[in-house]
């Protein structure tokens, strides 16, 4: 610790951090642009100048840039010093010489860091009376607008995009006062993290293009803290609504999960909420011409849920609450997890490894602290994109430490340490079916069949001392690779092993577990990440139940009359021929979902279920972290939460298990009591009766406007706003104005800090956790001193089967996920459906690129458009699973020519 003196007052602070960060952590207001808590300091904007004094006698002092100044004991500075204040004001004056002053028509107006800093410095009078320079803007794809005239050249965009996220196609061009930030030519930004530019940019150069399609001033939205639905990582998001449509997703800081950022699927995949395909009315087949009110539907179903002949099919994309209520409604024995059997097996294995193994599964922020990484069969950028960002930071750790040792410069001196590091990377090995976007920073990559990845993983675990038999017939190259990986992992302190659902193979997960366990026994602080495909895959698995195929058997055997399907399209889980048969044998198919899909076509009763934006609930991410998401707005008309529909069904059928459950808290409490693994899940966030100073937490900023006029075209009397009986949040601007509990922050705002930069004010220390701790609760902790339950099965070497292709899954950040593809911007980024072959196989089967290939899968013919890549193992074919137009499910599966 160090004592520093700021404007005559003494503070005890951490030594070695930069002064700007320290001042902000102390709650002082000091303007800045180029510094960012996740990106460090470069000293470009000169906005954070303060006066530094040698000692008590020094009255003259000199200006220093606080972001570039390491905190040392007895540092003596003044923020309020006249000369420093005048300099800071003039920095804004300079930045404003060319800024267009178009706040009134700028998307960022009112939530703009440049505006805030301008006000903070007191700059109010323009002395510059010459013409401004202007730029041409670029088309950057469906996600971002580009308005270069607003640029203040803080360099944050390229530092995030290139340095932090590894992007290649955004750069800084030209020099002096013509510096230009853009692409070398117009075109779609390629990075999976491009959307963060809208938050990283301190003004309106890069803005959210999807927001612009239905623009609303940021203070005019109703917000709620939410959890991303895009994959299994559970990034924290803020969702904003106006006039009943969801307008924008932005990152919600969580120091343990996603930090400051989001991936583009998470940020932009939200528009399915506003889709024209939404199920918004209750419908009963045969009564399609009648408007059915919910009461009538419930009455209709009253005698159609015979106990024992009614089954429920849950969903990995629905909340724990909804799944739990369905499970209770139909009874444990009649509840089936709505995953394909392949997904089910992987989820079961993942949960088993996490629960029974002695190694900790890290949060994304912990994962970023690893000093060696091994990925077995996972294309992170397409299956768990934000984890890829963590891996990128982890791979910097070793060279960063070396650079700090040789230069004696702290890590936050970003440009300096990057220069000293050059393009060195720490030990990082990727074994996957095909090349991935992280290969460029890997020590070594190896592309082969999933079984062979498993075999190499097995060999690594054996080399690390796992009590398993040696792998037979490993090639010399693979043996050497296994040795190199084992050596690198052993040389590290915090090795991280990653596997998951990415190649549809249990073996890679088992070996990842084996390796991490063996490393831990060698005394390493090993970490194990297993990705999960959907936002609640692990939560659903924790709830536990039967496989989907047993449901199919039961239905086909005629044992079942009614099936209740929760937020699920079974055509994505079952072979479509089986699904067709399944539905033929059901008397009643009750579907609760958001969008019309193939399953909705078969439903006899449709109940409009609220999306994440219209519901409260809890999700469990791949780390086992349970997180609460809050309803952003009340569903229009009869749209309501699935769990509420199901509770109402329970009441209509006098279900004893659901008796007394009415509100969300009732359900989470019942869930918490239902199983030890869910203990405490009702404590994730304060209960519905929580109040601060007698008040709820408002979802709307106090600047919210238009409330009395918004619906004046319908009724000149302002309607009563909806009430939220389930949570301690209100749907209006009324309520407690101060800082809410960290799990309930609907938006970040602080007096004088209208932009997202106000996050600083919510953190215990800048860049660290939120004031009352980062939200979420880990439901699984590693078994202390537990025996590692090593897996000992090793598959045989993959041998292509004549006349067959082994279909393996390929994932796409834009396209593989079910709901996000219903966002126009995301759909624009989707690839056309294809099948990927090794060129030798293509030649053998006499097809060329872009030609059609016919394959028989499970006895049914499918036609695919061919792409080729020599790096794909012969005898395999990559299939972009989940992509619209790809109907094969249950990959890996054998295809017959």
């Amino acid at each position: 610790m160090a004592i520093i003196h700021i404007d005559g007052k003494s503070y005890e602070v951490k030594e070695g951090k930069n002064l700007l960060e320290t001042c902000l952590s102390l709650g002082l207001d000091l303007p800045y642009f180029c510094w960012h808590p996740a990106l460090g300091s470069v000293g470009a904007c000169r906005q954070c100048a303060v006066k530094s004094f040698k000692d008590e006698k020094d009255t003259k002092g000199k200006l220093i840039m606080s972001c570039m100044e390491p905190v040392k004991d007895q540092l003596r500075i003044s923020v309020s010093d006249k000369e420093a204040a005048a300099f800071r004001e003039q920095v804004i004056g300079w930045l404003m010489t060319n800024h267009p002053h178009d706040c009134a028509v700028c998307d960022e107006g009112g939530s703009c860091h440049l505006q805030d800093m301008t006000v903070m410095t007191g700059h109010s009078y323009r002395n510059y009376h010459f013409s401004k320079r202007t730029y041409k803007n670029q088309y950057l794809g469906p996600f971002l607008n580009h308005e270069m005239n607003r640029c203040i050249q803080c360099y944050r965009c390229v530092r995030f995009y290139k340095d932090f996220a590894g992007g290649k196609d955004l750069d800084v061009f030209a020099a002096h006062n013509h510096v230009y930030f853009g692409r070398y030519k117009e075109g779609t930004l390629e990075s999976e993290f491009s959307g963060n530019l809208a938050e990283v940019c301190p003004t309106g150069v890069f803005t959210d293009k999807t927001l612009k399609q239905h623009y609303t001033r940021k203070w005019d939205m109703t917000y709620a803290p939410s959890i991303c639905q895009g994959c299994g990582l559970g990034c924290n998001i803020i969702a904003g609504e106006r006039y009943g449509s969801l307008r924008q997703i932005s990152s919600r800081y969580n120091g343990a999960v996603n930090g400051y950022f989001l991936c583009d699927r998470g940020r932009y995949g939200y528009e399915f909420v506003n889709s024209e395909r939404r199920i918004r009315e209750v419908a009963i087949r045969g009564l399609m011409d009648h408007a059915i009110d919910p009461g009538a539907a419930l009455q209709y179903l009253q005698d159609k849920l015979p106990p024992g002949r009614t089954i429920g099919i849950g969903s990995p994309r629905a909340s724990l609450e909804s799944n739990f209520v369905l499970q209770q409604l139909v009874g444990d024995d009649n509840f089936y997890l709505g995953m394909s059997d392949a997904e089910h097996d992987l989820a079961t294995l993942a949960l088993k490894i996490l629960k029974n193994g002695p190694v900790r599964t890290p949060s994304m922020q912990e994962a970023a602290t690893a000093d060696a990484v091994l990925i077995l069969g996972e294309d992170l950028l397409n299956t768990a994109p934000m984890m890829a960002l963590s891996v990128r930071q982890a791979v910097r750790k070793q060279p960063l430490q070396d650079a700090m040792n040789t230069t004696h410069v702290p890590a936050w001196q970003d440009a300096a340490v990057r220069e000293a590091m050059q393009d060195k990377h720490g030990p990082f090995y990727i074994l996957h079916i095909q090349p991935t976007g992280l290969d460029e920073i890997a020590t070594r990559t190896y592309h082969t069949a999933p079984d062979n990845i498993t075999r190499i993983g097995f060999a690594v675990s054996q080399l690390l001392g796992a009590p398993v038999a040696a792998v037979k017939d490993l090639s010399e190259e693979e043996q050497q690779l296994a040795q190199a990986i084992a050596d690198a992992l052993l040389a590290a302190e915090r090795p991280l092993i990653i596997a998951g659902y990415g190649c549809g193979c249990e073996g890679t997960m088992r070996e990842a577990a084996n390796i991490s366990w063996a490393l831990q026994q060698k005394g390493k602080a090993a970490m194990l990440v297993l990705t999960t495909p959907e936002c609640n895959s692990l939560g659903l698995e924790m709830l536990g139940s039967h496989r989907l195929e047993t449901a199919v058997t039961a239905v086909l055997d005629g044992d079942i009359d009614t099936v209740i399907i929760l937020e699920n399209d079974l055509y994505r889980r079952l072979d479509r021929h089986i699904a067709d048969q399944f539905f033929q044998h059901c008397k009643e198919v009750v579907l609760l979902d958001h969008l019309y899909n193939a399953t909705a076509e078969k439903a006899t009763v449709l109940l409009p279920a609220g999306t994440f934006a219209e519901s409260d609930g809890t999700l469990v991410n791949n780390e086992g972290r349970a997180q609460r998401f809050f309803q952003v707005f009340a569903g229009s008309g009869v749209v309501q939460e699935s769990w509420r529909w199901l509770l109402q069904l329970g009441a209509a059928t006098n279900n004893a298990r659901l008796k007394n459950l009415v509100y969300l808290d009732d359900v989470t409490q019942a869930l918490a009591q239902s199983s030890a693994i869910f203990a405490g899940i009702d404590q994730l966030t304060p209960p519905a009766d929580f109040r601060i100073a007698g008040q709820k937490i408002p979802r709307e900023p106090h600047r919210y406007s238009g409330r009395t006029a918004m619906l004046a075209n319908v009724n000149v009397s302002e309607p009563k706003p909806p009430e939220d009986a389930d949570t301690a949040m209100s749907f209006t601007m009324e309520g407690y104005r101060g800082e809410p509990p960290s799990s309930m922050i609907p938006f970040f705002w602080w007096p004088g800090w209208n932009s997202v930069q106000s996050i600083n004010k919510y953190q215990t220390e800048v860049g660290s956790s939120l004031h009352d701790g980062d939200s979420g609760k880990r439901l699984i902790e590693p078994k202390a001193n537990g025996q590692a339950p090593y897996f000992s099965y090793s598959p045989d070497n993959f041998v292509p089967l004549a006349g067959h292709l082994m279909l393996v899954p390929l994932y796409h950040i834009f396209g593989s996920e079910e709901l996000s593809v219903h966002t126009p911007a995301v759909a624009e980024r989707m690839p056309a459906p294809y099948i990927l072959l090794n060129p030798e196989d293509a030649q053998r089967y006499q097809v060329v690129e872009s030609h059609q290939l016919q394959l028989s899968v499970n006895g049914h013919p499918y036609t695919f458009t061919v792409k080729t890549d020599a790096r794909l193992h012969k005898g395999m074919a990559g299939l972009p699973v989940g992509l619209p137009g790809i109907e094969v499910v249950g990959v890996p599966v054998l295809g017959k020519l």
Binding site: V42, G43, A44, C45, R46, Q47, A49, K62, L63, I64, M68, A86, F87, Q90, V91, W94, L95, T97, N98, N127, Y128, F130, I152, Q153, Y155, V172, A174, A175, H176, N177, H178, V179, A403, T406, T407, H408, V409, Q413, A415, A416, E419, A420, M421, Q422
Partner: protein
């Protein structure tokens, strides 16, 4: 009067290897490799009090001594031959006239810091120098002065010529290193200094051409000899230059510490007929004006600084009484604004602002308020406020012009035109 750097240079000719050897060339290299440990070379240079001739005047031996000797991986030496300071043409003389002198100096320097790879970073416009250096490098390689096991010793050095693309910014050593790495020519944060983390993140020394050319002579003749060349405490000779409306503009190698008056009158032949001396930038475009009152200032690092300017590159740009000082400074600020790399705000936005004000003054559109804005810039674009020294350097001629030629600025405002009849379109 000794002129070790230039006495062998013939106008219009370039000394080839044979001629250089005949004049005693590469003897210093032999001596060092045979008789001196690397640290001894550094100690000798330190003792000689050789100060960097690029403009900053930092002790060369001291700079070298910061290079860690026991590190793994490569070390680099770079000759800064990106001579782009307006009014400065001293290195060109050395580069074109005697390339082997530079090469020998570089090999000796590389030996002292145990660098294995070296670069000559040459201004793009020095086409002739590029040709001469290329030829000299191939001669030196052929003769075994470069390459593996130089002169049969356990010391190897590669030397490459790199021609820049014409950015003044590359005169700043860290921007030069970025450029050499293929990155944007923006300066780097210091610390770490290049001696610790320089080219490609490895220990690196960047020295000016003139500085490096002294090394063989100091190794041959010793520190005391080098000191004795000077009239003042700053050792050695210095290449001085004079440009402007003088009778004989040119460059001369003279003892450190000759006075401005000597330079102007004895060497440059005084002002041209009909022109009076009004002032001069003593060390290139980025130094403060000195006036007739300062003509007896010795041109060394200490005395010029005491007079309120900087020795800089030692090449004086003379302002006469018929040249508009506002137009003069406008021309300079136009250059500096254009050469700003655009990294830090005050330089990127402030310099074009001053340029525009000066242009407006010249056009007769200037106001009193503009003069206030100019003053403001000279105060706020000071050292430490900007990321590197470019903008503070750019403010030196402006602030001193405002001080010494204030009445000219005011005349522009009051008469709403340039009293010298300038229209700087």
């Amino acid at each position: 009067m000794e002129a070790p750097l230039t006495s062998d240079i013939q106008p219009g000719l370039s000394l080839d290897l044979r001629a250089y050897e005949a004049l005693g060339g590469y003897q210093a290299l032999r001596k060092a490799l045979q008789q001196m440990a690397p640290q001894e070379v550094t100690a000798l240079i330190k003792e000689s009090n050789l100060r960097g001739r690029g403009g900053a005047g930092f002790s060369t031996g001291m700079k070298w001594s910061f290079v860690p000797m026991n590190v793994k991986g490569p070390k680099y030496l770079v000759a800064n031959a990106d001579e782009m300071e307006p009014g400065t043409f001293k290195d060109r003389w050395l580069l074109e006239g005697n390339p082997h002198q530079l090469i020998e100096g570089m090999i000796l320097t590389a030996y002292a810091i145990q660098a294995t790879t070296s670069f000559i970073f040459l201004r793009w416009a020095y086409k002739e120098a590029a040709q001469v250096i290329r030829k000299a490098l191939s001669e030196a390689y052929a003769a075994g002065y470069l390459g593996n096991n130089i002169l049969g010793k356990d010391f190897s050095l590669e030397m490459h010529l790199h021609t820049g693309v014409g950015r003044y910014m590359c005169g700043e050593e860290t921007a030069l290193l970025n450029s050499l790495e293929g990155k944007r020519a923006v300066p780097r944060a210091k610390p770490p200094f290049p001696q610790i983390s320089g080219l490609f993140g490895h220990p690196t020394i960047v020295n000016n051409v003139e500085t490096l050319c002294f090394i063989p002579h100091i190794v041959n003749k010793g520190a005391a000899w080098f000191q004795s060349l000077s009239r003042t405490g700053d050792g050695g000779t210095k290449i001085y230059g004079v440009s402007g409306r003088v009778n004989k503009p040119g460059a001369w190698e003279l003892p450190m510490g000759v006075t401005m008056r000597e330079l102007l009158e004895d060497y440059a032949g005084g002002m041209q007929n009909g022109y009076r001396f009004r002032g001069a930038l003593p060390g290139g475009a980025s130094t403060d004006f000195l006036t007739a009152d300062h003509l007896d200032t010795p041109m060394d690092f200490t005395a010029v600084a005491a007079a309120g300017s900087r020795l800089g590159t030692g090449t004086m740009v003379v302002l006469d009484d018929q040249t508009c000082p506002v137009g003069f400074v406008h021309n300079l600020e136009h250059f500096f604004a254009q050469e700003s790399c655009g990294f830090c705000t005050p330089c990127r936005e402030g310099l074009p602002w001053t340029e525009k004000i000066l242009y407006a003054l010249e056009q007769g559109h200037g106001t009193e308020e503009d003069l206030v804005q100019l003053e403001m810039h000279t105060h706020l674009l000071g050292p430490g406020n900007t990321f590197c020294a470019l903008a503070p350097g750019a403010m030196e001629p402006l602030q001193s012009a405002l001080k010494y030629f204030r009445e000219d600025f005011e005349q522009h405002v009051h008469e709403k035109k340039c009293p010298y009849g300038n229209h700087t379109h």
